[in-house]
């Protein structure tokens, strides 16, 4: 097992910078999600680490060993492809055995290791089947078993659950996480699904247009996004834009919003504030907001979406629509069109320097 260091890696296709000076340290044994919209360079980064493609500049090391000149087959990586890429002419067992067999392992060892890997992904009895006789989820498991049976130093997964339906995807998330813990392999997981990234990984790197926007544990990125993009791509956020005051921002209409987390921006500079919808308290004019909620705004409910355990309110305020999520506690529900007061704490307000 080993960590992966990516340092100042750039890769261009023609004039298009698919990766622009990306540096990430993937810790040994960690589960790392690369998150970003389509075309942000996730696959390109994964392919540099795997060795299918080579950076124009920058360095990549696996387990402390520089791999720039090491071909794919010598990098000792395991890769799971989005379309599974199972060999259609081979049985499930032969697919899993492939990596061991090209290394010339003895037949008895191969048979034993293959069975162990198939058992690990709970496909112990399906070794004789051909890939086309399996369901999508089962193929996914075979691809995983095939990738880990050779005991690679790093496991690379490119949107491995993208083709599965929602329920199966959640099952596979849990399953994948269990297997990763069990064998303790360094895992780099590419996804465009923010929920998947949040629930599965120890750390997340957010990519946008080939640049690493922010990197850190999920809680940190969620609670202290450093850009509007990070705030809105990972979870939902209400964004206010204005001029920095030193302790928050002043909106164009003169309202001030206090923020006690996030960047420090010199007074007078352009800045924005991000607030998560579930951190905002919504009340009718009569009720008193929590005294700790120093930030208050008046607005009008334009829409309510009931989702069982919670409700989402869309509140119009001065041309902006704000989103508020309220847990269903059985309290009185607000009607559409009702005037309301929104309040929240400066602790829940993240100050972001303008890009």
């Amino acid at each position: 097992m080993a960590g992966v260091q990516v340092a100042n890696v750039s890769r261009s296709f023609g004039a298009h910078k698919a990766l622009d000076d990306v540096s990430i340290d993937f810790a040994d044994g960690g589960f790392y999600a690369l998150l970003g919209p389509s075309g942000s360079g996730k696959t390109t980064l994964l392919r540099q680490i795997a060795g299918f493609d080579f950076p124009d500049s920058g360095r990549i090391a696996i387990g402390g060993e520089s791999v720039e000149r090491v071909p794919v087959e010598k990098r000792r990586i395991g890769m799971v492809f989005q379309n599974y890429a199972l060999f259609p002419n081979m049985s499930v067992a032969d697919n899993v055995a492939f990596g061991l067999s090209v290394r010339g392992e003895p037949k008895a060892t191969i048979a034993m290791e293959v069975q162990r890997a198939l058992d690990l992904v709970q496909l112990g009895k399906l070794g004789a089947r051909k890939p086309h006789q399996l369901s999508g989820g089962q193929r996914q498991r075979v691809a995983l078993a095939r990738a880990i049976v050779t005991k690679p130093r790093v496991l690379l997964l490119d949107e491995p659950l993208g083709a599965l339906d929602k329920a199966l995807r959640v099952d596979m998330q849990i399953e994948l996480k269990r297997i990763q813990r069990e064998i303790g392999i360094t895992t780099i997981f590419v996804t465009h699904d923010q929920e998947e990234a949040l629930t599965m990984s120890d750390r997340i790197g957010i990519l946008r247009d080939g640049r690493l926007v922010q990197e850190g544990p999920p809680e940190e990125i969620y609670d202290r996004p450093q850009s509007e993009f990070a705030a809105t791509f990972l979870g939902d956020a209400n964004i206010f834009r204005g001029d920095a005051t030193g302790s928050g921002i002043k909106l164009p209409d003169g309202t001030t919003i206090a923020a006690s987390t996030g960047a420090s921006v010199p007074a007078g500079a352009k800045a924005s504030c991000a607030v998560r919808p579930e951190r905002i308290q919504i009340s009718t004019g009569a009720a008193k907001p929590d005294p700790a909620n120093a930030n208050t705004l008046k607005g009008q409910v334009s829409k309510r979406i009931f989702a069982g355990n919670n409700s989402t309110y869309f509140v119009d305020r001065d041309g902006q629509t704000l989103k508020v999520i309220v847990q269903n506690t059985g309290a009185e529900r607000l009607a559409e069109g009702e005037p309301v007061v929104l309040s929240w704490s400066p602790d829940s307000t993240v100050l972001i320097a303008a890009a």
Partner: protein
């Protein structure tokens, strides 16, 4: 659901009949009728032309077994078919690989055209061009002697290699096309998956790409082997006196000796042998694929 599909497909056959009819009619007229006529001839003592007397006989088939010349020539032709097919694999498969997996865009189209070109040129023109290249004092001889510091004599004309060269050139496009189609269908991610699992390029080729392109290789081999075994034009023109093969003997019966019944019988023996070979090869090849 499955029931509905089955009913649907059974219903689907009847409206398709008028569409299929012309094809079946054509097959009947173009293949079945002439073939039955030939089968009929092969059991006759003489052609029923110009009021000649004829009776039924098995003599034409017996001739094949009583004279060792025919079976010797048949073996020579089978060997020729095998060699030409092998050369077509050796030349055509790598070409198809480069076309399908290495070249992209315009350069692919250009090379493709070069491969197909012999298809579009007349067979006789093709063979006589080779004759000009291969004979002593021909293009190959002159060109080599112009470059090389010492004098060599290249006269491949009227030799076995000349026949092979002519046939391979005529038939290699089949191999390129069938292999190109199967190679094209192999997803690049399969190759990458193989490499990520520790296989070198060569191992990926032998364990993944070649097994997956087996259908194309088999189709190409069948398309080449069968006509080459019966070929007569290339052996006659490029092989000269060394170019006597089973196919040329059959041709002689039809155009020189006018012994159509013997020619027909020899043709049906060839057909039977080729079918037996294909039938024997099928299970082996299927397992390999």
């Amino acid at each position: 659901m499955a029931d509905q599909l089955a009913i649907g497909s059974r219903r689907g056959l009847r409206p398709a009949l008028p569409l299929l009819l012309p094809a079946y009619l054509w097959l009947t007229v173009a293949i079945f009728l002439p073939l039955s006529a030939m089968a009929f001839f092969s059991f006759m003592t003489d052609l029923p032309l110009a009021g000649k007397e004829w009776t039924f006989t098995l003599g034409n088939y017996a001739a094949f077994f009583s004279q060792s010349l025919y079976s010797t020539l048949l073996f020579a032709s089978l060997r020729l078919g095998l060699e030409v097919t092998l050369w077509c694999v050796v030349i055509g498969y790598p070409a198809a690989y480069v076309l399908a997996k290495v070249l992209k865009g315009r350069s692919r189209e250009a090379i493709f055209l070069l491969v197909i070109l012999p298809f579009w040129s007349n067979g006789l023109v093709r063979i006589f061009s080779w004759a000009m290249v291969l004979r002593e004092g021909g293009i190959l001889d002159t060109a080599l002697n112009a470059v090389l510091p010492f004098k060599i004599n290249i006269d491949l004309m009227y030799s076995y290699p000349a026949v092979i060269i002519g046939l391979v050139h005529s038939y290699v496009p089949y191999m390129v096309l069938t292999c190109y189609l199967t190679l094209q269908a192999i997803d690049d991610s399969l190759i990458e998956a193989g490499r990520s699992l520790g296989a070198s390029r060569r191992q990926v080729l032998w364990r993944v790409i070649i097994p997956l392109s087996m259908p194309g290789l088999i189709a190409g081999a069948a398309l080449i082997f069968v006509p080459v075994v019966g070929s007569f034009m290339e052996p006659r023109i490029l092989g000269g006196r060394t170019g006597t093969f089973y196919g040329t003997v059959i041709e002689d019966q039809f155009v020189a000796v006018f012994n159509w019944p013997l020619g027909a019988a020899l043709s049906f023996i060839l057909l039977a042998v080729v079918l037996i070979i294909l039938a024997l090869a099928a299970p082996v090849l299927r397992r390999a694929g």
